[in-house]
């Protein structure tokens, strides 16, 4: 292994600009002569807009224009599209209501945009927005899916009866019924997967600019996938052909899913800039982020697990209510279906699985993918119900898991819920995590804690995820309205340095380093001779972007394919220069060599020859050394692993202290261990945040009660311990690098492990389940409710 090649702990190329304050985030960009946009947003969760009077606001200082839905309609501006069509059990397509850029007569959640004010300064735009007079007819609202599906509940869309978008299912219901009929034991569990706010530290921002001379539109935006935004906004919303629309996503301050989607503000600044013939900028404040960034999770689930007398899983039955919010966000419908139901085999051999998901509209902010996206929901419910079953049957939870793990020699393994796992070893990662946590001697620690009046518990969770979405044809058959390949262009310059263009945007993942390692390793050139370019449709031919831990499995595979092409062409050039047969040329360590001889040309010499083709097979080969490849994955990848968490609970305060967090993961081949560890750390923090701290809460009228960092508890440095990590690799069998992806794992495995530890800690009190987040108040109340009463009470 070289110091910068595959497997090396290379410090990041991108860091210099960030540690010196020279990153360029969207809000750092100011265009000459720019105006500002501020949006008037609904203070009500559900209301009819009887009248919007902009007369006074339009006369405010600095105001250039005020736009409402009517202005957009006059220009035939379309609605924001949904990228995945789901069909219900009965074969009918999902209800797909319009998603107007500005509210069309009705607002459906707090924060729904009503009018866009364009003014000289942000403050002037904001002041004018506050002067717009809106006559609201407030309508009844519903925020809880369990209420929304009842007859007589407020109707958010007339076409969606009982607020149901679709009623989807997957699996063999009859087989599951039969499994339950012969079960020796059935474990039942109702649980909530709490709603979360992604809260990337950089609030969303967008700048639109229109060049009157060329008719070209440019959008700078905080996006994980600028090409997808160009496609959706250009084709469906603003009807701008792609050759006249450039979308740039510069440095982006975190995404976690929330910056995948096409948002109204992107279309508004692009459209308004052409209207007012000046650049238009919008930057969200954090309050807007809370009420306009797509949120995550929000499931209510009933699950039943059938087991035989030996604890073997026979069948799993799952029924979920999934909250979609008021509108369909870009990929919202795929999350509680194909990224959730298909993961319900987990790491286990459960032969029969049936899942039904009813997706429900409510008067809340739209819900879409947030780190893990469907897979944390699946993993959490599985790992909770497995622990509950272990408790009911009196089997050690690690032993019950081992009895049901997919055997090491069973790959490729076909699950009953569509997926085929290519490789894995769940025994080893569980054993690694348990050993690291000294699971064997835990009871002594429980006893010692009890002597101090504390409850101590240990919990584990295994997880599997499906990453690197996905074969385009398969996804298309399941309702995806896009391809899911990735693109790479390797541009070798005449002096042998390389610019790599990738469609996978980097917003913290370190692509500029990991991808450069791939190039340096393969071409045998120094890593500082490689520049990675991403995030600009004007530079990169195409790309599907960064989500679902796909950048390395899919984007990296495209890079390898393009590098293969570069090497193949280099061999032809070398064969000509060395007067040898092409088949005799070997490429190794940056040299094209005639096999068995010392005759060789360096990579740099070949590059120069490609661009200065004086001695060159010009009849057979074009000059230049610039190769593009598209890679369409053959399957998902299946990262998996085990997390173990130990907690101690103070019964007087209900505070949960994390005594230890251990993760053992299988990510396949690892390119940069330092970056992978960082990804796991961040994922763990978000998963632990979900389990202990974070909860997005609306009151019954639809007001967002957790609309700031004052009310929404984000994990802080003193909430978390240092984590203990380990890895065990089984290679992916169907991509060229053997990589699986690591971005989401931490957030998928940890909630179950934390909650299992908490339930274990409180098990002496008879506690069987606690919903997330396990806040001090919730823990304290649970302890109070279960504590043995004194005789006098």
């Amino acid at each position: 292994m070289s110091e910068t090649g595959i497997g090396a702990r290379v410090t990041r190329k991108e860091d210099f600009r960030f540690v010196t304050g020279r990153g360029t985030y969207t809000d750092d960009i100011n265009r000459p002569n720019q105006l500002w946009m501020w949006l008037l947003r609904s203070p009500h969760a559900h209301a009819r807009l009887k009248k919007i009077d902009t007369t006074a606001a339009a006369k405010m200082p600095g105001v250039h224009a005020i736009f409402t839905h009517d202005d957009l309609a006059r220009d035939n501006v379309g609605g924001l599209p949904c990228g995945w069509l789901i069909h219900s059990k009965d074969g009918s397509p999902m209800v797909e209501p319009p998603h107007p850029v500005l509210a069309a007569g009705v607002v459906r959640h707090v924060g729904d945009p009503i009018a866009a004010v364009i003014a000289e300064t942000r403050a002037q735009a904001r002041e004018a927005a506050e002067a717009i007079e809106v006559d609201y007819e407030v309508l009844p609202a519903v925020v809880d899916t369990r209420e929304a599906i009842k007859d007589g509940a407020p109707q958010i869309w007339p076409e969606a009866k009982n607020n149901t978008c679709f009623d989807w299912h997957l699996g063999d219901k009859d087989a599951v019924d039969k499994a339950f009929a012969k079960a020796a034991h059935v474990t039942k569990l109702d649980l909530v997967n709490n709603r979360l706010v992604p809260n990337a530290m950089e609030p969303r921002a967008a700048i639109g600019e229109y060049d009157v001379a060329t008719g070209e539109h440019t959008l700078w935006t905080t996006s994980q996938n600028p090409h997808v935004i160009r496609l959706l906004m250009g084709a469906f919303v603003l009807h701008i052909p792609e050759h006249k629309l450039r979308v740039v996503a510069p440095d982006v301050g975190g995404g976690f899913g929330s910056k995948i989607y096409h948002y109204a503000e992107e279309a508004l600044v692009t459209w308004a800039a052409a209207k007012v013939k000046r650049p238009v900028k919008w930057t969200a404040d954090r309050s807007e982020s809370f009420m306009s960034d797509a949120q995550g999770r929000d499931h209510h689930t009933h699950a039943e697990l059938a087991l035989d007398k030996d604890g073997k899983f026979l069948g799993l039955r799952v029924s979920t209510l999934a909250n979609l919010g008021a509108y369909l966000s870009t990929f919202s419908t795929s999350i509680p279906t194909y990224l959730y139901g298909t993961l319900l085999a987990g790491t286990y051999t459960t032969p029969a699985i049936y899942v039904e998901t009813r997706a429900v509209f409510t008067n809340t902010v739209p819900v879409d993918a947030y780190r893990g996206a469907g897979r944390p929901e699946a993993s959490y419910l599985l790992e909770r119900i497995v622990d509950l079953a272990a408790d009911e049957l009196g089997i050690d939870p690690a032993e019950l898991r081992r009895r049901n793990f997919i055997p090491k020699d069973a790959y490729p393994y076909q699950t009953p819920v569509a997926l085929q796992y290519d490789s894995g070893d769940y025994f080893t990662t569980l054993d690694m995590a348990l050993k690291a946590a000294d699971y064997a001697n835990f009871e002594a620690r429980r006893k010692e804690a009890a002597s101090r009046g504390k409850y101590r518990g240990i919990g584990m969770a295994t997880y599997i995820e499906a990453c690197g979405i996905a074969p385009s044809a398969v996804a298309g058959a399941l309702g995806a309205r896009a391809g899911l390949y990735e693109m790479a262009e390797v541009r070798v310059h005449p002096t042998g340095s390389v610019t790599l263009f990738t469609g996978c945007h980097s917003h913290g993942q370190g692509h500029e380093t990991t991808f450069a390692q791939l190039v340096a390793d393969r071409l045998g050139i120094p890593i500082d001779q490689v520049e990675v370019v991403h995030g600009d449709t004007g530079k990169i031919p195409f790309g599907m972007g960064t989500y679902g831990s796909r950048s390395l499995p899919v984007g990296g595979s495209a890079i390898v394919k393009a590098l293969d092409k570069v090497v193949a062409k280099g061999k032809k050039i070398a064969a000509h220069l060395l007067e040898a047969a092409e088949a005799d040329i070997e490429f190794k360590d940056g040299k094209f060599q005639v096999a068995g001889t010392d005759r060789a040309k360096t990579f740099g010499e070949i590059a120069l020859t490609a661009y200065v083709p004086h001695k060159y097979p010009i009849e057979e080969l074009e000059p230049g050394l610039d190769e593009t490849a598209f890679y369409d994955p053959k399957n998902f990848t299946y990262p998996a692993g085990a997390h173990v968490v130990e907690v101690e609970i103070d019964p007087d305060t209900g505070v949960v202290e994390l005594k230890g967090v251990w993760a053992a993961d299988d990510f396949g081949r690892i390119i940069n261990p330092m970056i992978v560890e960082g990804q796991v750390h961040g994922g763990l923090a978000q998963g632990i945040g979900q389990a202990l701290l974070e909860h997005c809460v609306y009151d019954d009228s639809g007001q967002l009660l957790t609309g700031s960092f004052n009310d929404y508890a984000m994990p802080r440095a003193d909430d978390l311990p240092s984590f203990h990590l380990g890895t065990n690799a089984t290679l992916c069998t169907h991509n060229p690098l053997g990589v699986k992806g690591c971005g989401e794992a931490g957030a998928i495995g940890s909630p179950g492990a934390v909650m299992n530890a908490i339930v274990d800690a409180l098990s002496p009190l008879g506690v069987k389940h606690i919903d997330m987040p396990a806040s001090p108040r919730r823990i304290w109340e649970t302890i109070q409710a279960h504590r043995p009463r004194m005789a006098a009470e």
Binding site: T11, T24, A123, G508, P673, M674, D718, S722
Partner: protein
């Protein structure tokens, strides 16, 4: 609004003195970003909860989104742009964040480094617990803080003339 009279402020930032007339309501973070074009300090929440806007003012780390520019009149401020030596050599904290992978998206990093800078002045050799407590006012959504702690330990070791431990231990 334009009818409000602008007021003069004189602020020394990274050793250079700037005189401007500003709206009384202008926040210090906007003064730094928009008037001085120093965009290293970021805005993450507008409410002093996240610390992305942290700068050093008169020796204290402050959240510049909740300080008016006029309150900084006469003050001496250091921002992330003023941390490296004039010859470009990175400060021990900047080097530590890079060596220990103490950043991912980089958005919180300038504020985090400025907070850590003041922390290390207050407590030159902090324990992990003291570091975690000392940076608890600064949010990071990417790193889980573990490598930020290591980055600050790296800097403390370097500033104290000790050998620097390996990153991943």
């Amino acid at each position: 609004m334009s009818t409000i009279e602008q007021v003069p402020v004189t602020v020394t930032v990274n050793g250079k003195t700037h005189k401007r007339f500003v709206d009384p309501r202008m926040l210090l973070i906007h003064f730094i970003r928009d008037e001085l074009n120093l965009t290293g300090a970021h805005i993450g929440c507008d409410t002093s909860h996240c610390g992305a806007c942290t700068v050093e003012m008169n020796g204290m780390s402050i959240k510049s989104c909740t300080v008016f520019a006029v309150q900084a009149d006469g003050a001496s401020i250091t921002t992330i742009e003023g941390m490296a030596a004039p010859d470009g050599t990175l400060h021990a904290l900047q080097e530590g964040f890079r060596m220990m992978h103490g950043l991912q998206c980089g958005y919180c990093t300038p504020g985090m480094i400025m907070r850590a800078h003041v922390l290390l002045k207050e407590n030159p050799d902090p324990t992990e617990e003291e570091i975690r407590s000392g940076i608890a006012g600064n949010l990071c959504r990417c790193t889980g803080y573990q490598n930020i702690v290591k980055a600050i330990q790296y800097a403390a070791a370097k500033l104290n003339g000790r050998t620097i431990q390996e990153a991943a231990e």
